[in-house]
């Protein structure tokens, strides 16, 4: 692999006496679709929170796009090109579907407070450009007919999709998806896998996927990293990982007959 887009080097985070993530190394190339799996409490979401700046690693370095990101605030990291979705959907409940996506254009705005008040033609030009791009994205993801609805009134699958659209609207280089298949039925999961493949192709970005659902992970990921108790126990293609003894042990326990 050439220089990775995201490079976690011996990242450790401790909360008091608990080491939630211990010396994890992880590299993501600019076109990778990497899966991050592990049993409950393995530290997957914590890794997400370290990458996005919600937590600061106790030790270790994170490099994104050749620049260190440790110590930066989440909004700065988002601007650098890392977008995410949340395990429990976090849309803006009082905003419409349209405004949820529109808000994500905020970080690339050229015209801010003074323009919003003075309303020179350049302000309207930028607002019209944003409007066109929001509508284009909503069309692509089949949410255009719901643009005026409050996001809370969307069906569950659409809310998941909207959150992904909102993340994409920040124009990321790396998209982090935190358990996108949670609470979905098999058909919705199929659609989700289709969607993730489509997003990756269309926007040419890297995707890091945290997921419990093995069918989804094994179905779309090129590589998989397995965490258990905050330690990376395996990495490889889905086939390799599935045969890895440590992984089987972590998920199913030691009994050989259980596998």
């Amino acid at each position: 692999m050439s220089i990775p887009l995201l490079d976690l080097n011996k990242c450790t985070i401790r909360f008091g006496g608990l080491t939630a993530v211990s010396a994890v190394d992880m590299q993501i190339g600019s076109q990778d679709l990497l899966g991050l799996i592990g049993p409950n409490g393995a530290g997957k979401t914590t890794v997400f929170n370290i990458i996005t700046g919600v937590y600061q690693p106790t030790s270790g370095t994170i490099t994104f796009n050749n620049k260190p990101t440790a110590g930066l605030k989440p909004n700065v990291i988002a601007k650098r090109g890392i977008a995410r979705t949340f395990q429990n959907i976090r849309l803006f409940p009082t905003l419409s579907v349209y405004d949820n996506v529109r808000a994500a254009f905020n970080l690339r705005l050229r015209h801010r407070l003074a323009h919003a008040l003075s309303r020179f033609p350049s302000f309207y030009r930028e607002e019209n450009q944003i409007k066109a791009r929001v509508m284009e994205m909503l069309e692509i993801f089949g949410l255009a007919h719901e643009e005026h609805l409050l996001c809370g009134s969307l069906p569950y699958g659409d809310q998941r999709r909207l959150e992904i659209v909102r993340a994409l609207a920040t124009q990321p280089k790396l998209l982090l998806l935190d358990e996108p298949a949670a609470g979905m039925n098999p058909r919705e999961k199929e659609e989700l896998m289709e969607l993730i493949r489509f997003v990756k192709e269309k926007y040419q970005i890297a995707v890091l996927l945290v997921e419990h659902d093995m069918k989804v992970v094994m179905g779309i990921c090129q590589r998989v990293v397995v965490l258990d108790y905050g330690i990376k126990i395996a990495e490889g293609t889905p086939e390799e990982v599935q045969k890895n003894a440590k992984v089987i042990e972590a998920y199913l326990g030691e009994e050989p007959s259980a596998a």
Partner: protein
């Protein structure tokens, strides 16, 4: 984008209308005129507080403090420091009065904005109740500081302020406040305020600098509160530190809640209705044919306010015109399809 300039046109219309009304203000009973001016001042206060409490979701109880700063700074400037300006402009005339008055208002607003910034930056790490307590304490500190400042009369109050506030200035400034808040919110930049209110973590994840938005809301809100204070000082011509107490802050908060957090027009209407209601209660208290109890309640505004607030929270917690569900609260969860995966934590402050 058909009605692109509707806001600007509305602003110009409002300014012209207030100029027209002001031209005829001589024929209005001076008591009514005063009440109409109070309505305008309360619109400025409530709409600017709505930017902080309603749109940005930061519960501030310090608006009376910001207003006091604006009132005292502008009153002091127009009373003690205006002689030089009048001399330079060739004596006291319509134009030189306008220059002195506007200058004093603006500097009063800026002083309040600086206070807003100073309070905002350290205290915006706090959320919810904690922030409310800090801003409440700030308001009280301001009041006590003024009480002990002899240059502006201390606890005796500050009198002899010129009566500069006209219908024109009051409603021009009220219209400007409404215009600024509305056009701010109606922009991609301004939607950032709402994302801070709705979900700070998600807002940061899409690159929104939540601290900066909060400080901006506080500074702008304090600026207009300061200007409202200046208008108030120059219409009552006498101000007293105890007039800017905690109860005044609560009164403004109630206007915002009644109108509906995050609905500018609702808040404007609430400011009008509540101001007029309070004035009308003075008469009710004087009607001798009413039972004694009713008259006593009418004479005590706090009882009325409490009743309004209790009734509102029971019947319509989102306010009269707050069409949107309250931030992340019960309203949203009811509509959401049930999740099989992770049960949500119970919503904070769910009312029913």
């Amino acid at each position: 984008m058909k009605h692109r300039h509707v806001k600007q046109l509305g602003l110009i219309a409002a300014v012209l209308l207030s100029a027209l009304a002001s031209a005829y203000s001589g024929s209005i009973n001076s008591y009514y005129l005063q009440v109409i001016i109070f309505v305008g001042i309360n619109i400025v206060l409530a709409v600017s507080l709505n930017l902080i409490n309603g749109y940005t979701g930061q519960f501030s109880l310090g608006h009376a403090g910001f207003m006091a700063i604006g009132a005292y700074v502008s009153a002091y400037l127009s009373t003690e420091q205006s002689a030089g300006v009048f001399n330079a402009l060739g004596g006291v005339g319509t134009l030189s009065i306008a220059a002195v008055f506007l200058g004093a208002l603006l500097l009063g607003g800026i002083a309040a904005a600086i206070a807003g910034l100073a309070v905002g930056i350290p205290s915006l790490r706090l959320k919810g109740d904690y922030l409310a307590i800090v801003t409440l304490g700030f308001g009280e500190i301001i009041r006590v500081l003024i009480q002990t400042t002899e240059a502006v009369g201390g606890a005796r109050g500050y009198s002899g302020i010129a009566n500069y506030t006209t219908l024109f200035w009051t409603y021009t400034i009220a219209a400007l406040t409404v215009y600024i808040v509305l056009s701010l919110i109606d922009s991609t930049y301004g939607r950032g305020f709402l994302t801070v209110r709705d979900d700070e973590i998600a807002a940061e994840a899409i690159g929104i600098n939540t601290t900066r938005y909060k400080v901006t809301a506080f500074t702008l809100g304090a600026f207009f509160a300061g200007i409202a204070g200046g208008l108030y000082a120059h219409t009552t011509t006498y101000i007293n530190p105890s007039g800017f107490d905690f109860q005044l802050s609560i009164q403004i908060v109630i206007m915002v809640i009644l109108g509906g957090m995050g609905s500018t027009w609702g808040v404007v209407l609430a400011a009008i209705v509540l101001t007029l209601l309070l004035e009308y209660l003075r008469f009710v208290a004087g009607y001798e044919w009413l039972p004694d109890l009713v008259r006593r309640i009418a004479a005590n505004r706090t009882i009325i306010f409490s009743l309004v607030l209790i009734g509102l929270m029971l019947l319509r917690p989102q306010g009269l015109f707050g069409a949107l569900p309250r931030m992340g609260g019960a309203a949203k969860r009811v509509r959401e399809p049930r999740r099989r995966h992770k049960p949500d934590e119970p919503g904070p402050g769910a009312t029913r």
